[in-house]
Symmetry: D2
Subunit: 379 residues, 4 copies
């Protein structure tokens, strides 16, 4: 039997969104088996949560140190091979460091560490151990981001001359204007969140995307941050000018006080032969502009896409990737019904809907074959 | 330990898209465990495919009859509780019938059966057995479809006076114009695909959506089908006029020769107080129109949504549901790296990206604190 | 001196929107000079309105019969050459008939007449007189409608196999549900508005567009109209199935009770090689779909457009045609200032804005040349 | 008779787009009468062009000095009251100066002058003379820009905390990469175009919009310009950081090498209570965001708009302002027909279209009244 990779998870318990995201992703291609982890610093909560996942309690540990020492005792065929690190930022470094030292592969949330020095340290260790280490800049996984990257490296837009990137959110707006709220939000507390709020949380995503899709390194930058209130020590808005070695210039604008914005990440790259534009909130559209031709809109799954883009597409064209979630919701509703839990009738289409569908088809065929007359459906 | 529901699957082996979709959905909320099934009519292919899923071979069966008889011998705590039926249309009925007779819950693809009579039979059996039976009209699982349904039943748009629905695809266009191709496509063969092509495959989706979101039954219909060529026995385009008991009228337009269209399913419902519009290719937007107010655009995850809509949302506002797929793609790339398989460097962000991110943050803070000057990033 | 065409106008006085539209259009290319007309059935109102247009009172007449007889007495170099007929529908026929009989060219609003017979009569007369006769289906004047028409006739989408057209409005919704209102609205009164409300007013636009852009004639139709209330004699919603001689089918859906819709006229034409889609509310975009290529979006003014499209474009690409209106608004504000009438400071940018702009440019150049430092603008 | 304002024009002859724009705008509301001017520095061309406008040659002058001296000799009831200055940038100052000194009102294109000092001089003179002076920042005339301005000043989005503005064009891309072309383009020649290309031409529009809609002054700025090639002395791309006195920050990004962009002017203003977003290429949509409410999309002409916005709307909701242009194109086609010039049949709908429309209406009513049967249209 083709073995699945044995995966452990640190963090992401309870309602944690990042936890849900990583578990669904791990299950998506039948390549991983989640075997245990430390989901929560409180051991009771940890165990209770693991139960909801249907996990065996024997590999739920009280802390990551215990996880490492216990897993290392297991036979290599049983031992966790990879660990996902989903804990608060300041824990990324100590956890990833010990995991690498003990020969685990690591999947780690961003920002990688709290300082540049720590991140260099992890990089050295990773190379020494020849481990696999993935940083989950999730947005880079979209098929059309992959397509954009490939097209630029293939020269589709010529030499890059301008980059305009943004990541605009508004979620801090209801927080920032009240002194009580802003002083009690962990994202605005340097102790918990590191030296930066907006740049660290989302500016890095835009920066990563800029270097990924252009294939170029940002040479230097000039930043103007805004804390909005004097008693707030953390940036909540940041406009950054950037320059590349080839003379191209650009901006990376990020904000968490762009009131009403959700996850408005966009990147426009302009070259001597054309331009490519992409936005995260409508991720299935890649816009290809050029001097005097019609705008071209590329979508996932079509044969005109590159292999790396097609590899990231699971369905035929026109199905938004989100259709998995739609189907997932239906399965969830059915599970509730099977488990005898309360459920809303809107959660999944019952057999009556299937019956109606058959009546619809038969009556439509009848109407047509009789010369387009009105036919009544069954009650 | 909270037990997962034991799920079996009929059909969906190999590259089958519907198979991928159901497996991902089943894994999404940690509620199901896929334990076996019959993925393929050829037993060798069946076993080989099951291996790629990491499934134990003991519960991979040669046909659905064997699956039923063998599973029934197992202890109820081990036995499959629910079976997903993903086989070609004509097999839905015999499979679902025997499954229900043997006390399995059923999740079945649409169209439910090949005739209305068969579907009634399944319904009677389902009621007799008190089984759970879900028909996977996938699109109904979108959070904003749920919101639309709830708003209409809450009276947000008053009495419904007009419904305009469509499901337009173009995939038959490259097939239909060549005699060889159109005579060898199974969808256009009544033996394999039943009495209808376009109506059965996608018209039913639109019809189901119409009755779901309006909460009303279509009273009568008048249909005009097009086969485009005389030697083609199957509808490839269908315009259907509909009437409801309350005097509302509308259309359901479906096509598979709408050249260049992908899965352009849309539904507009107009009432005496307002209107709601939704389209599948951009499923996170619900448009609420009214007489002389600004257009309102609702999106998933916001507190203004109903509980049933929020229950179907896994992430905060602004993350398109497709982000799961983006993350899934990254996990797939990491798995390839761990398994020593070839992979493209664009498949997941390596540790170097995390390092760059830290440098970006530190340099941006330095630039800002020194009065917005240019600072060079490390090479 | 190149002479402008002398134009008279019947109807369109006061706040009449159609009057404004025709006058602006007539003035747009320096080709017409409006010399007089009958703007209003009440002579005092007529004269007062003509004054506001700055017209000489000598050619403002009490009725169209007088206009015809008096104008015919003038020397041919002075006489009105063309007359625009903007009156209520039932007057189109008698006016156009006498105008043609007296050798005027005619520009007439739609619907052309109140019966098919009358329209045939006008056509015979027009041919006999060899007059120019334009019917103002305004939407056909958009550059991208012209482009769509040309591309289809050039074979860009192959043989047409499906047409889907709609014209959805919602303005009758606040009227139709109250008995008093619906019985007192002239559009719903057959005496004033002819035999049809929705079809006559907007269905004809969609129908005209269908035949224009396809270059084909509709062969037969099947219509389902809705009056919504039994005491309302007029259609307010109409779904029409259509068939062409070449076996293509389609729909024309029009409504005035599509609550919240404004002027949602759309036309999709699907052919064997591709499809073209256009919508009136965003008239500068023409969508070109095909089997497995990126969607192409054409916009006005580019060299890839046909001559007939470019002839209808007045500005370089990217200026929505509405920019004329923006500039027109500024001129209106300046006129108020010059005439000493009250005006809002937002009506036109004052000289101070020009001064600020110069300061902005100089300071930006200074900041850049000094190494990207902050520079203060003048107060 | 209500007198129209007598308007003279300097510049804008031949195919000049700015000339067409100003003339159409001047004619739009029956408020101005264009009586003469200097359209072209070459007197023969000037006269020939004036003829095509149907203007009397007596008030076509050889230069602006002559225009001023001759017009001043006329009786005040005949004399030009206002002059539109559409000449190249360096001529704005001397022309506007002498016009003001001689008591003309002035409508002047931007940038106002070539230096800040000159602009101050004009401002002083304008105040001394109590003249009306409008600078044609055309975009400010859009109804939804007016609405945005009013809503912000009414407090709809609270205190402004972030502004993000851009004006992106790509038209210089086909020019900039070839040495011959870039050295022979007048926009890139400081002698002809002043000290700045991109900032002067379009950056000022974005800057003007920023100060207009926010109602605040930009306090200081930091600019990073790009010339792309060392032998090019002029900015073709400019990223400008801005700060307001209230602690709000933002960017103004302008470019003429954003390949493929047309006139992508956008402005986003974020405040403590909400945000407003507008973009020039789709000028009829104003987006109103707030913390946890549905996005609202405002459109022109609705009663929820302010008076100043409604004053700038000429048609009912849903008619894009560009419809005037559509109608204008039809009138142009009719003029060609009347004048016996060659024309394309697509230029205006002929009487046959009116006849078809009547047949369509009658047949649809017949189909409906006979129980929704197929009815053939006349050939």
């Amino acid at each position: 039997m083709s073995k699945k990779i044995k995966l452990g998870i640190l963090g992401g318990g309870g309602d944690s969104l990042i936890g849900i995201l990583h578990r669904i992703a791990a299950n998506m291609f039948d390549k991983y088996e989640i075997v245990g982890g430390v989901f929560n610093p409180n051991f009771d909560d940890n165990m209770a949560f693991a139960k909801t996942l249907g996990l065996d309690s024997s590999r739920i540990y009280k802390d990551y140190q215990t996880l490492i020492s216990e897993e290392c005792k297991l036979d290599s065929s049983e031992r966790m091979q990879a660990i996902s690190v989903l804990t608060p930022n300041f824990l990324h470094y100590p956890m990833a460091k010990q995991l690498l030292e003990n020969d685990f592969h690591v999947i780690c949330e961003k920002p990688l560490t709290t300082t540049y020095e720590e991140s260099l340290d992890l990089k050295r260790l990773k190379e020494e151990k020849n481990a696999v280490f993935g940083v989950t800049h999730t947005y880079t996984g979209y098929p059309m981001v992959r397509q954009m990257t490939k097209m630029i490296s293939d020269g589709a837009i010529g030499n890059i001359q301008k980059v305009d990137a943004q990541y605009l959110q508004g979620w801090l707006n209801p927080v920032i204007h009240e002194k009580d709220k802003r002083s009690s939000t962990w994202r605005l507390d340097p102790e918990k969140s590191g030296s930066s709020c907006c740049l660290g949380d989302i500016g890095t995503h835009a920066f990563n995307m800029v270097e990924l899709v252009t294939g170029m390194k940002v040479n230097k930058l000039l930043a103007d941050l805004n804390t909005l209130y004097e008693d707030n020590p953390m940036d909540v808005d940041a406009n950054v000018l950037i320059q590349f070695s080839n003379n191209a210039k650009g901006t990376i604008r990020s904000s968490q006080i762009a009131t009403g914005e959700e996850n408005n990440l966009r990147i426009n790259v302009y070259g001597s032969k054309g331009a490519l534009k992409w936005e995260q909130e409508n991720p299935n559209y890649l816009y290809h502009l050029s001097d005097d031709n019609p705008l071209q809109v590329l979508k996932p799954g079509h044969s005109y896409n590159s292999n790396i883009s097609l590899d990231g597409t699971k369905l035929p064209p026109g199905h938004p990737e989100g259709i998995f979630d739609a189907m997932g919701n239906i399965y969830k509703g059915v599970a509730r019904a099977i488990n005898g839990e309360p459920f809303d009738k809107a959660e999944f289409p019952p057999i009556e809907d299937g019956v109606r569908g058959m009546d619809f088809i038969e009556k439509a065929l009848e109407s047509n074959s009789k010369g387009n007359i009105w036919v009544e459906l069954n009650k």
